[in-house]
Structure formats: structure tokens, C-alpha cells
Subunit: 372 residues, 2 copies
């Protein structure tokens, strides 16, 4: 058995307000190319297919088309589960028909105990679940954590293991000791939702989803594939791609990197440099860009000027702080209203007040004082 | 060819705020029983499967289960289209897999020209569409109305007619001369969206959706199935059910009525009668009930008292009007605030003000006057 392992597509996700649909279309289409090149027998998608329980129609359209291409056109068997971002009920639409062409999409807890035997391997598809689902299924009110639930889940799965087959688990949760990124929402701190890696040791491979970093976990038989795209600045140095998993002899893992339409980059420079062709022609202006500004002065209309050169700005940070200005609390308290307004005008426009402006300011302030 | 024709399920619809999901589950399950009794070869659903483009998960769950029962369990071939209430993109999820088991659900205009030959019959599935879809498809900017579009649609379909087959059109629009009910939203007045029945004369049968009254159209070869439930008070006297269409010899149509979990009824009586067991034990209190009240006096806490007996009240109407009270504009204008408040209190509580209350009222009104 040789398969491709991906997860956490989050179709429909936005990055700081930028729509990632084109990026997702390109990178997920590339996954299909990798599957063809690597001549895998099947593809695993370990949850969070969509970013939201009610995805936009454009997201639905993209996912539907991808699955038509992969399964009906290219005839790849697909083993997929729902993640915490998916609506298990909405995502279940059509699933009984999908399996007619070896597209196994599982969204209900109980389905984890109907392994799919494919070639020499049993695939156990365990969708994301809350402890309540395990409590109801096992009729055991003591189950409060995912760890408790997983002890029973694995026990039950083991009774279904066929001795001459290999066993692959597809699941979507946090394994203790893994490291997190900024873009994974809803992951609890404190370990209530954490599963011990030891529990998973009897599977030949565990294809995990949930964490967006493919290097988040170091366990011989278990991997996160990570997301195919960087979803936050904290992921800037993460490799993004998919695992090629070969179980034919001993377990062999190869990570195939993917190239995004637009990467994330950080630029540090002063404002003048950032706007000069000599500088910006040396970088990829189309990338998602985090800017570290070395200037300390106030720059009027800064964002608009930067966006003309860098259309995908994630944020601008002042690395040296800003010059002490009227905007600091202390300096504000020390000044009377007129000199405060005069300084502000000077800083923003780089011009002093004209006589006319000063007269208007004086009169207006006077009127305001009288109203008090 | 012998098939069942239904439409306008509007799964997830509410009736004056009352959730109809249980009613829909029961009545649509009954349709399956009719299909089995009548031994039809196929089932047609002519659009508006859901009530909204983004249905609630409960609605999705019900529809998914119904289709599993009908198509995968009971093996009925299904010919279905999207209506104006459905999201054509969301509803298209899974459709390429559905056809593997003869469940043909069409949501795109272009699919109308891929007739499905089933037995001795060609089924043309034309989903609800706007003129823009026809403009793009036919590359003809002159198309402004559904009637103009349908001229071209029928022309094109006729080129696909096979001489030894019968032709059935499934569509979702308003046919000129049909009569409307209150529960059909988005049907334009003025005929811009109306199709002439003449255009449809070359089909052996036209299975229509859109209008909720099965008797809305009288044309030999075309019928609305109507909705399976009454969706408004104006439909109180409409028969609800499905058509059994037999094309084996000449066209034979049989209307099979359905019984809802709760019907709509109208009650006319005075308040005292409505609350007396002698009266309400003679009616089905669980029905959706429109009340025509013969009383003319103000009745304090009326709705709450009525709802205790009749849990599904659609509305209460005073058939004899109300006694002239402070609520009429003229009487309000004639009174000073104090006598107005006193009269109102008397009418609502049937008690005069106590001395204490009158004192409080006088003082409060005085305070209010002074503030002006």
C-alpha cells in the first residue's frame, strides 16, 4: 500500500482578509499531480476540508470540482474525514453514493468502527469528535476527555484488526507533545483534548490532521501532514506539502513540498527604501508581506502608499518604535489644546498652520471652552 | 412508463413561525409509500427541495436521509431539479455520484440538454433559471424573459427528441393562466417570468414545480403537483398530494391525496366558547388554527389563554370589529391623558383605579407635563 496523506485544506479561509481561494485551487490541484507522479494507490484527507461549517458557495464549488477530478476522473480512491471546522452533517451529503466509486468520506463517530479493507490494508476513518459522542456511543458517562475516549476507541478498533492486514488510522486531534501554530483555532490549552501518542502505537500508520505544521509531531508511525498553505505569519518557515506513505515493506515516509501561488515573506527596511524600485524589484511584491519598518517618524498615508507597491500586506510593525509624539499619553497631558493641534498638524502635513488656519483654530477652541 | 410527480417540498420551511420539519418528514415519507403501492418506475421532484439556499442542518439531514431511503434502499430512480428556493451550487454536491444509482439531480441550465433515456422515455430536466443563464448559454443578448428563453430551450430540446421515445419535461416556472397561492414567494406579477403553455405542447408530459396548488393549471399534458403540505391559510381548501402519471398507453393521471400530521382549520366562535371543553373537544386542537373571534370587547391576555387550548394558532381576527375604545384615533384625540389612562386601565383590568393608583397617576402626569 502506497498512499498520499494531506489534511487541513480549510477551503474558503481568508488570510488577514485576503481571499485564499485561488491559492487553494492551485495548491490542491498540485496535490493531484503529486499523487499521479508518485503513483499512489489512494489519497487520505485527514479533516478540515472546509474552513467553516457553512462554507461560501465558491468554496463548495471548488471542493466539489476537486473531488470530481480526483475520484471520478482520475479514479483515485479517497479516504477522508471531517475535522473540527467542518459541519459533519453538511459534509455527509452524498457520502453513501461516494463510496460506490471508492470515495470514503466519514463524518460520524460510529463510522470509525467500520474499517474499509482496501488491498492489504484496513483504513479506520475516525472523524473529529467531542467527548459527548463517545459517551453516547459507549454508554459511559465517565468519558470526559478525548484521551479517555481514545482508549476505548483504540481498544474497539483492535478487536477489528485482521491479522494479515496492515492498519491505518485517519484522525483529527491533538497528540501530546506536538507543537502548535497560530492558525489552529479551537485547540484547547491544558491538554483536555490531547491524545497520548502511546495509544496509537499499534497502527502501522496514523494519518493526522488538526495541526498545520507537518513537523509538529515526531513519532515513528504517526504524522501530521500539515496544511498545504501557510495560514499565518508564524508558519513562515514551515515546509508545506504532503506525505507519501509507503507501507509495502517497512514504513517509508517522503515529504513532497508544494509551492504556493504567493508565499509569505518579511521585509525590513525604511519607508523610502520600500518605495524605491531598486529595493522592491529585488523581492516578490506579490507575496503576502509582513513589513518591519525602521523609521521612527510618523508617515502620512503610509498604508495606501505601501499597498500600491505591495498588494498583499499582512501587517506593518515599527522595529525601532516611533518618535515620542502627541500620541503618547504623557506628551498629551503636558500640552494645551492649541499647541497639541498645532504639533499634530505639523507632524501629519509637514507644514505649519497658515495665519488663516491658526485664526480658525483659536476661535474654534475658544467656542469649545465656552460651551463647557 | 409510470411515475410519481411531486415538487415544492420546501424542507425547513416554517409556517407563521411553527417548524414544519416533523410534518415534512411524515408527509414525504408517505410519498414513498404511495410510490411503492402504485408500483411506479420512477419519481420526479420538480424543484424547491429546500426552502432556503442555506438550509438548517436539520433540513439537510432530513433530505439526505430521504434520498438514501428512496434511491439506495428502495432503489427508485429519481429525476429531480433545483427550484428558485434552492442554491443550485450547494444542491449540486454529490450529483455526479448520484447518477451511478439512477438518481438524477440537475441544477445547471446546460444540463437540460442532456436528456436521460430511461425505458421508453426521455426525461429533460430543466432546473429553475434566470434569463441571464439562457443569454449566456445561447450567446443571445436579446433574451430578456423566461418566455423568450423557453422558445429557444424547447427548440433545442426538440432536436434531441428520439422518434420512438416519449418525452417528459421536468421544470420549475410559472405557466401563463395558472392561479397562485399566498405561499409562493418571488413569483413576479406582470408576466415577465411566465411561460406560455402552448410552448410545452409537444412533450408527452410536463412535470411542473413552482405553484403550490395542484389545480393551478388546466392543460392536457402539463400539471403542477403542488406542495405536499399547506404552506399558507389561503391553501386551506386545496387538495395536497402527488400525481401518478401513466404514459404506457395514452396519458393517464391520478391524483393521490396525502394526509398531513396537522391540517389547517378555521374556527369562528366567541372567546368563551373557544375556551369551553364542550366546544374544543369537537375540533382537532392540534391543527394549525385560524381563529375568527365574534367578541367585540377587549380581552386581556387573550393570546396566552387561547394558546393553552390551541397550541398552533396562525392568527386571530375580529369578525365584528372591536368596540370603540381608546385605541381608535378619534377617541384618543378627544381625551386628556388622565381620563385616557383611567379608561384604558378599566378596559384591560375591568377594575377602577384605587385611590392610591389615582394619586400616583395624577402626580406622574404632573411631573411629565413639567418636564415638557
Amino acid at each position: 500500500m502506497r498512499f498520499l496523506h494531506t489534511a487541513d485544506w480549510h477551503i474558503g479561509k481568508k488570510l488577514q482578509g485576503y481571499d485564499l481561494l485561488e491559492e487553494q485551487k492551485q495548491v490542491i490541484s498540485d496535490i493531484l499531480n503529486v499523487a499521479k507522479e508518485e503513483q499512489v494507490d489512494a489519497i487520505i484527507i485527514a479533516g478540515d476540508l472546509y474552513d467553516r461549517s457553512v462554507p461560501a458557495t465558491e468554496a463548495v464549488e471548488l471542493f466539489n470540482q476537486l473531488m470530481i477530478d480526483w475520484n471520478l476522473e482520475e479514479k483515485f480512491p479517497i479516504f477522508a474525514i471531517s475535522g473540527n471546522h467542518d459541519s459533519s452533517i453538511r459534509l455527509s451529503t452524498g457520502t453513501p453514493w461516494f463510496s460506490q466509486s471508492d470515495f470514503f468520506l466519514r463524518t460520524q463517530f460510529a463510522e470509525a468502527f467500520q474499517p474499509i479493507t482496501f488491498g492489504d490494508t484496513q483504513f479506520f476513518l475516525l472523524p473529529y469528535f467531542e467527548p459527548i459522542a463517545a459517551r453516547l456511543y459507549f454508554e459511559d458517562d465517565e468519558i470526559r476527555t478525548i484521551q479517555q475516549a481514545m482508549t476505548l476507541v483504540v481498544e474497539k478498533m483492535q478487536t477489528l484488526f485482521e491479522p494479515n492486514k496492515k492498519q491505518v488510522l485517519v484522525s483529527h486531534f491533538f497528540v501530546t507533545g506536538s507543537s502548535k501554530s497560530d492558525s489552529e483555532t479551537k485547540i484547547e490549552v491544558g491538554g483536555l483534548d490531547a491524545v497520548s501518542g502511546d495509544l496509537l502505537k499499534d497502527f502501522d500508520y496514523v494519518a493526522l490532521g488538526h495541526l498545520h505544521n507537518q513537523a509538529a509531531l515526531h513519532q515513528e508511525n504517526a504524522r501530521y501532514s500539515g496544511s498545504p498553505l501557510k495560514f499565518s505569519l508564524s508558519e513562515i518557515n514551515q515546509k508545506k506539502g504532503v506525505w507519501i506513505v509507503d507501507l509495502n515493506d517497512r514504513l517509508q515516509l517522503t515529504f513532497r513540498e508544494l509551492t504556493p501561488l504567493h508565499d509569505i515573506q518579511e521585509l525590513q527596511a525604511n519607508f523610502k527604501e520600500l518605495l524605491s524600485p531598486a529595493f522592491y524589484q529585488t523581492v516578490n511584491r506579490e507575496n503576502y508581506t509582513q513589513i518591519y519598518l525602521t523609521d521612527r517618524t510618523i508617515i502620512p498615508n503610509m498604508m495606501n502608499q505601501l499597498r500600491k507597491i505591495y498588494p498583499r500586506i499582512l501587517g506593518v510593525e515599527r522595529v525601532n518604535g516611533r518618535l515620542d509624539t502627541i500620541t503618547t499619553k504623557q506628551s498629551v497631558e503636558m500640552k494645551d489644546p492649541k499647541s497639541m493641534a498645532t504639533t499634530f498638524f505639523k507632524e501629519i502635513t509637514d507644514e505649519p498652520l497658515t495665519d488663516h488656519q491658526e485664526k480658525w483654530l483659536t476661535e474654534t477652541l475658544q467656542e469649545l471652552m465656552e460651551m463647557e
